[in-house]
């Protein structure tokens, strides 16, 4: 059995990159409404390991993407606005011994934070350009100090109609609030 890895960044339209070579078509599933094509060919430079912890510390990860492919430039220029806050799926593709796709597994979902372009000197006078996509879990932006709260803004991002944290902005340290309508 062979496996490959991919990243799906939910921009409009979504950017799909995988660690293999050439195009990879996958059938429609819970994430993709239509059959979709992942782009390979070294567009994805490295995808980080991630941890799945329950009540553990929030994670921040960085995925590196080649900065010269047409798809990456589209991501950096045209889609820059929709990258922030976009859902990022870590995908595992399982293949049989004849390299036929037998399974697509969405292992984790993160959120993209910011995209930075990094250009640096390489050996032999060459230059390389990479895009670094910083991604975190839903909790990454909230520090875990005693003074941190779930905020209405965070909750609305996940679920736009949920009003459960409406009054959080009114809370100050040392006061207690009565539940119920104001």
């Amino acid at each position: 059995m062979n496996e490959s890895f991919g990243l799906r960044i939910d921009t409009v339209p979504p950017a799909r990159l995988w660690s293999g070579v050439g195009d990879l078509s996958i059938p429609a599933d819970i994430v993709e409404a239509q059959p979709a094509t992942y782009m390979g060919a070294g567009a994805l430079l490295n995808a980080p390991d991630f941890q799945q912890l329950i009540n553990g510390s929030a994670e921040r990860l960085e995925a590196q993407i080649s900065g010269v492919s047409a798809e990456a430039i589209r991501l950096a220029l045209d889609e820059a606005a929709s990258v922030r806050g976009a859902k990022v799926h870590f995908v595992r593709f399982d293949f049989d011994d004849a390299w036929q796709l037998i399974g697509v597994e969405y292992e984790a979902v993160f959120r993209a934070d910011k995209l930075t372009v990094e250009s640096q000197d390489e050996e032999g006078g060459a230059r390389s350009r990479k895009l670094t996509l910083s991604i975190g879990t839903e909790d990454t932006n909230r520090s875990r100090s005693p003074l941190a709260y779930f905020t209405d803004q965070d909750q609305r991002r996940r679920s736009p109609t949920d009003r459960i944290f409406d009054h959080v902005a009114g809370i100050t340290t040392g006061t207690s609030r009565r539940f119920g309508p104001r």
């Binding site: 890895f5 995988w18 070579v21 050439g22 195009d23 990879l24 060919a41 004849a98 390299w99």
Partner: protein
């Protein structure tokens, strides 16, 4: 599109192979190492070294074509020129029935292997059905080329034969329809230059060329 014919430079060493990446699970207590491939099937690389360019025109031709590749930015069709290991056999040349050649001294030439797909093949297929008429039977290890509509010329290697079903690597770059020509006579691949080719001159006169290509996997425009 630039075409690179290695036979022009009489390379002593020619290495066309498929490269890729494996991920190891670490070595166990018993010394056993579990390995999976994570590259989705790999890509073709070609390395030619110790090319002979004794003639002035060969040296200049080598310089021109290596410079035309723009350091790997442009795709180039690399021909593998390895007829001995193809099913086509020795090329037969015959004159006209009265023993005379054409006016430019060339002769009729045998066409080599004729092959085509007999069934549609999906993108990333690793088994294709084909029909072949050739002097030698397919035994595995041969290379062939399919010219895809958007990915262009791509090379594949036969790794196993079962009737008219042929197992290949790497997986097909693009789907292909029944009837698509499968070229065993001139295996070639769309590649790009990798690294810096050598073309230093020895003793002010003789030059030895070494060049390496990797399959060009940039998205076709």
């Amino acid at each position: 599109m630039i075409h690179f014919h290695p036979c022009q430079f009489d390379f002593e060493d020619q290495d066309v192979r498929r490269e890729g990446l494996t991920t190891s699970g670490g070595t166990s207590l018993s010394g056993f190492e579990d390995v999976i491939r994570t590259d989705g099937g790999g890509f073709i690389t070609a390395e030619f070294s110790n090319g002979e360019t004794w003639e002035r025109r060969d040296t200049l031709a080598a310089r021109a074509i290596l410079d035309a590749m723009d350091g790997g930015a442009v795709p180039v069709v690399v021909h593998f020129c390895d007829r001995l290991h193809q099913p086509g056999g020795e090329m037969a040349r015959v004159p006209h029935s009265d023993g005379t050649p054409f006016s430019d001294d060339t002769l009729y030439r045998s066409s080599g292997a004729q092959a085509s797909l007999v069934a549609d093949a999906a993108m990333r297929a690793t088994a294709i059905r084909l029909t072949i008429v050739a002097e030698r039977p397919l035994i595995g290890g041969e290379m062939f080329t399919i010219v895809h509509p958007s990915w262009g010329e791509r090379a594949y290697r036969v790794i196993g034969i079962d009737g008219d079903m042929v197992q290949i690597r790497p997986p097909l770059r693009e789907s292909a329809q029944a009837g698509t020509s499968v070229d065993f006579d001139d295996p070639r691949c769309r590649m790009r230059l990798s690294g810096v080719p050598s073309n230093a001159i020895n003793m002010g006169r003789f030059q030895s060329v070494a060049v390496r290509f990797v399959e060009d996997m940039r998205q076709p425009q």
